[in-house]
C-alpha cells in the first residue's frame, strides 16, 4: 500500500536525523528537539459533503544551534514533499537559550 501524504511527511522528518515527537514530549528535553501536531483541516466541501481532505498543523523545532543548519535541513525535507508550508515565526528564548522555529503546514489527504 502506498504511503499517504501524511506518512510521507512523518518519514521526511525522520530523514533529517533530528528528534521529533507527535504532539509533545512526556519529559523535559535538554537537547535539540522537534514537535509536530495536526490542528485543523482545510477540506473542500460541496453540498455539505467533504469532497477533498487537507490537514493543517504545526512543526516546531527547538535548537541551540544558531548556524541555521537545522532550519535549512528541515525546510529541505519539507520541500521534498511538495506540500504547502511556511515559516511562521522564529523566537529566541532568553531563559533557555533555545531558538524556536515554527512552521505551518498543509497536507492533502487524511491522517
Amino acid at each position: 500500500m502506498d504511503e499517504t501524504p501524511y506518512q510521507a511527511f512523518m518519514n521526511a522528518l525522520a530523514t533529517t536525523g533530528y528528534e521529533f515527537a507527535h504532539y509533545g514530549w512526556s519529559r523535559a528535553q535538554e537537547g535539540d528537539y522537534g514537535v509536530y501536531a495536526e490542528d485543523g483541516s482545510e477540506d473542500f466541501l460541496a453540498n455539505d459533503i467533504h469532497l477533498e481532505y487537507a490537514l493543517t498543523g504545526t512543526l516546531d523545532y527547538f535548537t541551540r544551534d544558531a548556524s541555521g543548519t537545522p532550519k535549512t535541513t528541515i525546510e529541505t525535507a519539507l520541500n521534498s514533499l511538495g506540500i504547502a508550508w511556511h515559516l511562521n515565526s522564529i523566537q529566541f528564548e532568553d531563559d533557555t537559550g533555545y531558538i524556536h522555529y515554527e512552521w505551518i503546514w498543509g497536507i492533502y489527504g487524511q491522517a
Binding site: 490542528d39 485543523g40 504545526t58 515565526s89 523566537q91 528564548e93 515554527e102
Partner: protein, 138 residues
C-alpha cells in the same frame, strides 16, 4: 419607415438612491465589517473558553475601532490590555498560540480564522445586502 428604438432610462429616484449609497460608503463599509470581525472574535473566545487559566485572555478579545484611510476601511481583532501581573495580553496570546520549550502550544487564532473565514464573508455579504436593500426601499 417609422423610427424604431427601445429606450432604456433610469429615473431620477434611482440615481438619487445610488448617490446616497455612494455618499455613505464609509459608514456602510464599517457596518458591513462588524459582523465579520464579530464572528472571528466569538470564535476565538469560544476556543479560549476551554482553557481555565485564560479567562482574562478571552475577556481581552476586542474589535478595534474602524479605521478609514485612502478609500479603505479596516478593523482588527486584538488582545487588549494587560493581565493582573502587568503582562500584555497580546504576548500571552502569542505564547499560547506558538508555545515555547516550557509551555505546550495551543493554536487557537489560526484555526479560528480558518473556521470562520467562509462564515465571516457570508455574514458581511448579508449585512451589505440588508443595508443596500433598506436604502433602495426608502
Amino acid at each position: 419607415m417609422g423610427k424604431r428604438e427601445c429606450k432604456f432610462e433610469f429615473d431620477g429616484d434611482l440615481t438619487a438612491k445610488l448617490g446616497g449609497l455612494a455618499a455613505n460608503s464609509y459608514s456602510i463599509l464599517k457596518q458591513t465589517l462588524y459582523p465579520g470581525a464579530g464572528a472571528l472574535a466569538d470564535e476565538i473566545k469560544k476556543r479560549l473558553s476551554g482553557h481555565k487559566r485564560t479567562g482574562d485572555l478571552a475577556d481581552s478579545v476586542t474589535i478595534v475601532q474602524m479605521d478609514q484611510n485612502g478609500g479603505k476601511v479596516n478593523t482588527a481583532v486584538i488582545f487588549a490590555g494587560y493581565d493582573e501581573n502587568g503582562v500584555p495580553n497580546a504576548i500571552k496570546a502569542a505564547v499560547l498560540e506558538s508555545g515555547s520549550s516550557k509551555q505546550k502550544k495551543t493554536p487557537f487564532i489560526r484555526p479560528a480564522v480558518a473556521a470562520v473565514r467562509a462564515r465571516s464573508a457570508m455574514l458581511m455579504q448579508e449585512r451589505l445586502d440588508e443595508i443596500i436593500n433598506a436604502e433602495m426601499e426608502k
